[in-house]
Structures are given as structure tokens and as C-alpha cells.
Symmetry: C2
Subunit: 193 residues, 2 copies
């Protein structure tokens, strides 16, 4: 019954969407918990989520604790090895030079990101990436690509900044594909379908 199955491209987009949603949820979690900037990352192995992490710069007073870095550290601890060549990483935003360099060091070969770095820069984050860097890492054998469609839209929405307005109550915020329930000090719940 091959005709009943989703075409391969649609299945890949669906996979991208589900994994990007996880990364985006982490990005909101970082802000809601006051842990750091709105960035999340998920490491996938054997087609399952191995770790799901967010930015901890503020919580840990650690400028290296970007979402991708915390995810790679946790994945390595969990697997007991520093070689993640059998893993992929999904990041809510295009990785910065530090993160791409660590991705290379950890031997991850596939990077899928949601928002472009420019979106983070426009929101006031120092996330610029010279094109020469991206090319260098591509030539190192790393596949770096942006998600498409709705997955990219929910990643972009992370940089809407109601969470930067002090004291403002944030109850429910419509995002691509569903609702995001938010309240200061509470763990968020992602309600996308």
C-alpha cells in the first residue's frame, strides 16, 4: 500500500518539524526559566532524541553555555564518548562560530537549524557568522541546512520579544501551528499539533 504512505519529502519535512519544535520549545524554556537567551538544541541518534537542551549562559554564568554546547556536553556524558559522528543536531537558530567549531570537534556531520543568524542579530544577540566560516565547515564535510516552511516560521517567532518587557504577564501566545502557554517561573508547554 505504498500509495497510502506520505511521500519521502513530506516525511522528511514532518521529521524536521517535530525535531525543530523540540528545539524551539527549549528556546522558550531558556527564557521562561531565566536560564539564558532564547536558544534551544536537540541531538538525535538512531532517529530518536538523545538530549534536548537550552542556553544556560545566565544560569551558569558561563559564556560558553550556548544551547548547542550544553547539548553536545550532555550527549557526550550520556554516551561516554566525545565522538558524536552517529548523531545529528537540530538547533533553533543557526549556530554561532563557537558552536559550529565544537560541532566539528565532536564530529557531528549533520546540522539542521531553524532561524537564520540574522534574526538573532536583529533581536540584539551577537550571533554574526561570516560566510567564510560556514563555507569552511561545509568543506570539513558538515552538512548545514535550514529547515523549511512551518518549522522555520516557529523558529523565527522565538525572537518576538514579549519576554524582554519586565513584569509583563505572558499567558498564551499564538505561534505557528498552535498555542504556546507561557508564564514567568513556570515550565512552558508546547501545544503544537
Amino acid at each position: 500500500m505504498a500509495s497510502m504512505e506520505a511521500p519521502p519529502q513530506a516525511a522528511a519535512q514532518d521529521r524536521d518539524y517535530k525535531l525543530m519544535k523540540e528545539a524551539v520549545c527549549e528556546a522558550y524554556r531558556a527564557v521562561d526559566r531565566g536560564d539564558g537567551g532564547p536558544f534551544g538544541a536537540v541531538i538525535v541518534r538512531d532517529d530518536a532524541v538523545l538530549v534536548s537542551c537550552h542556553n544556560l549562559v545566565r544560569k551558569n554564568t558561563d559564556p560558553s553555555a550556548h544551547a548547542e554546547v550544553t547539548a553536545i556536553r550532555q550527549a557526550c556524558r550520556r554516551l561516554g564518548k566525545v565522538d558524536l559522528s552517529d548523531c545529528e543536531i537540530f538547533a533553533s537558530c543557526e549556530p554561532c562560530p563557537m558552536c559550529i567549531a565544537l560541532i566539528r570537534a565532536s564530529k557531528i556531520k549533520k546540522v539542521v537549524y531553524g532561524a537564520k543568524a540574522e534574526a538573532a542579530v536583529a533581536a540584539g544577540f551577537d550571533a554574526s557568522i561570516p560566510e567564510a566560516f560556514v563555507e569552511y565547515y561545509r568543506k570539513s564535510g558538515i552538512e548545514i541546512r535550514q529547515v523549511q516552511g512551518e518549522a522555520a516560521q516557529i523558529a523565527d517567532k522565538v525572537f518576538e520579544k514579549p519576554w524582554e518587557i519586565p513584569g509583563e504577564a505572558m499567558q498564551r501566545r499564538r505561534t505557528g501551528g498552535g498555542w504556546l502557554e507561557k508564564a514567568k517561573g513556570m515550565v512552558i508547554r508546547c501545544l503544537w499539533n
Copy 2:
């Protein structure tokens, strides 16, 4: 009695030597303790050593735990802030792209290194740095320079590899300017004058 004082250039070289010696001692310590590769870094603030760290990749199963990264993390924790703009970093080897990117993120403006990255590459480490990267970070306002003279020599010697020969006893090893006492499992002592 100005004639009795060391000329400014000699004083600067002496300072470089003392701080590079600290970083180099850390590099040996990394290997002797089995913590990671032979790389050390020292962060200086108000002309005093704030932290002195080494590579912990193996010990922590963490590919991000380069000497510069562990030093920056520890300095930030100690100062309770992620802005190290009033600090300098001395590294036993030219920082890799990940480390330079973190140095930029932490706002450190002065980087002094001992051995060229090529020396680490020749010793089998993945430490290549595209020239475009170094230029990019220089343009970001970071002063990156190599130490000269004896300080560079002791940094280069770190990549002599007797510590890679399994089971070989390493007692005393002559290095630039003095002796280095080494024994597996023991903390080394730097005996340079």
C-alpha cells in the same frame, strides 16, 4: 636610578615568560593527570593570575573542555560575570576556532599564545586555524600575538611526545630554562627559574 631598571621591552618579555610558563605547566599537568591533551591557559586580571587551567576533554568526556574554555568558565564563575573585558588570556598553544570564538564572546581583548597551531597539528592534534578566522577576530578588536624567545621555546617543547609512549617512565626532562619533574600520576613541578 633609571639605568638600573630593566628596559620596558625586557620587562614585557619577562612578564610574558612568567605567564607562559604557568600556561605550559598546566599543559604538562593535563597529560600527567590523564585529564586531556597538552594544552594550558591562564587568565590574568589586574596583572595577577586569576585562574590557571588545562584541557579536561578526557576527564570530563567533554569535547568543549579545551584549556581556554575551562579557564574562561572558571574565571566567569569566580568573578560572577560573563564579561571578561578587563582580562587577558595566555594559552600554551594558539587557540582553535572554538576557543577564539569564545574569547570574543567573553570580550577578552588580549590573547598571547606560545606554540603555533601548526606545532599541535604536527603532533597529531586537530588544531588547524584558517587565516581568515584569525583576521576576522583581529578585526573584532582582539589583539592576538605569539610570545617570543624562550617563552615560545618552552611552549613548543610541550609537543615533544614522551608521554605518548605507554609505560615509559618519565623522570626528569630538560626544558628551556630549567628542569621539569615528571612522573605518571603525580602533579608535576615546574622548576624553571
